[in-house]
């Protein structure tokens, strides 16, 4: 069975149009999966308003100490790379929010005084809206890392085309979000700041050896520093979304522009066609290499 591509939509900062683009692209695809990996502030569901199929609690392992067995030897405290453990006399303190669940402390404990328990760090919601299957996750406030939730979300990919709405920036969360992507779409604003943020994600996708292209958002007449950057670095420009008050208004009302207006449906359909073509070309070029 032919598996459709997994697309990750990312940008160096928030507010450039990742959700706008991924929500609208998913809406114009015949059958799609949309995964909201921005687990610290997911907003895709504000647009899709999906009917919920099920919810699932996401847990990670955290250490627990058996005070009877602990001799206060300091081995686990010295080992922990995240400084999640402290020892006062023979009393071991565990800072669960700081722990990254690596399990290393259990391995180094000579007394086998440490075991693991589950800690709830957030939830995952699966639903649908028209022809789009929607997977989104939410990290509980104060937790150290959303990576385990993102990994769980990505298990729900299917054969149909998948749009991953990545968190902003180029952090561990973004790395995890795009790990399985066949192609990365970088969204960029037409400002000097936008160019700087584009540079950050450009560096990331190169580092991870991902095929990529850029969508210029909010474009205006006149110079576009992000476009200039693409030209200088021979980055394929997949398309432009003009600065458009009507599009902004529809979006700010939590509506999906491609579903509201035929003009926007055409705009995002054309963009999706270009992206698909770019992926095909990339695959062909890759096979020939």
């Amino acid at each position: 069975m032919h598996t459709e591509p997994v697309l990750a939509i990312l940008s160096g900062k928030g507010g450039t149009g990742k959700t706008l683009l991924s929500v609208n692209l998913a809406s114009v695809a015949e059958k799609a999966t949309y995964i909201d990996c921005d687990v610290e502030e997911p907003n895709g569901n504000l647009f899709f308003k999906p009917s919920i199929a099920f919810e699932k609690i996401v847990t990670v392992k955290k250490p627990v100490v058996d005070a009877e067995l602990c001799t206060g030897c300091h081995a686990c405290v010295d080992f922990c790379a995240f400084n999640a453990l402290a020892l006062i006399g023979k009393n071991l303190m565990i800072f669960e929010e700081i722990c990254h669940s690596c399990g290393g402390c259990m391995h180094v404990c000579p007394e086998h005084a440490l075991t693991e328990k589950d800690r709830e760090i957030g939830e995952l919601v699966v639903g649908s809206s028209d022809q789009v299957r929607i997977i989104s996750g939410t990290l509980n406030i104060g937790e150290s890392s959303g990576v385990p939730i993102i990994e769980e979300l990505l298990r729900y990919k299917q054969e149909n085309i998948t749009f991953i709405d990545a968190p902003p920036g180029s952090s561990c969360l973004v790395n995890a979000s795009i790990s399985d992507a066949d192609f990365c779409v970088l969204v960029a604003e037409p400002t000097v700041f936008g160019r700087h943020n584009l540079e950050m994600v450009h560096e990331l996708v190169q580092l991870l050896n991902k095929p990529y292209g850029v969508v210029l958002n909010k474009t205006l007449d006149g110079p576009n520093p992000s476009e200039q950057y693409c030209l200088e670095h021979h980055i394929p420009i997949l398309g432009s979304i003009p600065f458009d008050k009507k599009l902004g208004t529809i979006n700010s009302q939590g509506k999906i522009a491609a579903r509201e207006d035929a003009r926007y449906h055409a705009l995002f359909s054309a963009l999706l066609t270009t992206i698909r073509k770019e992926i095909d070309d990339e695959t062909t070029a890759h096979t020939q290499r």
Binding site: V77, N83, A84, A86, M93, I98, S171
Partner: protein, 120 residues
């Protein structure tokens, strides 16, 4: 009794560091021998949990008193059960703060801030 003070440098005339957990050094002053030693804070450049690690260093050095400008929540969670008392540093040198403490002029540090933890 050991007094610990986060310090910007390694001499008694340097300033108290504005950060507790990410201070480059700690001055450890022994009131019995009246000797001061400076130790490097290996938690200063930690990616996360610097306050916890820094507090652990002071616990391991048998500290009784910490004189600091501010202290984060996680550091306090380690210092307090270790019976380490916190005092508010005044805007003077390390030596002046030790002197002020010994004369009973420093007030206890009651406010603990929630920390400056960043996402990664």
């Amino acid at each position: 009794m050991i007094i610990a003070i986060p310090s910007d440098g390694q001499s008694l005339d340097t300033a108290v560091c504005v950060s507790f957990g990410r201070s480059p050094f700690y001055c450890l002053y022994d009131t019995d021998t009246q000797e001061s030693t400076f130790i490097v804070n290996t938690a200063a450049d930690a990616a996360g949990g610097a306050g916890i690690k820094a507090a652990q260093i002071l616990v391991d050095n048998h500290t009784n008193i910490v004189i600091t400008i501010r202290c984060g929540e996680n550091s306090a969670k380690v210092l307090q059960p270790a019976d380490i008392k916190l005092f508010k540093a005044v805007d003077l040198s390390i030596a002046d703060n030790i002197e002020a403490y010994l004369q009973g002029k420093l007030s206890p540090l009651n406010e603990v801030h929630p920390g400056y933890h960043h996402a990664h």
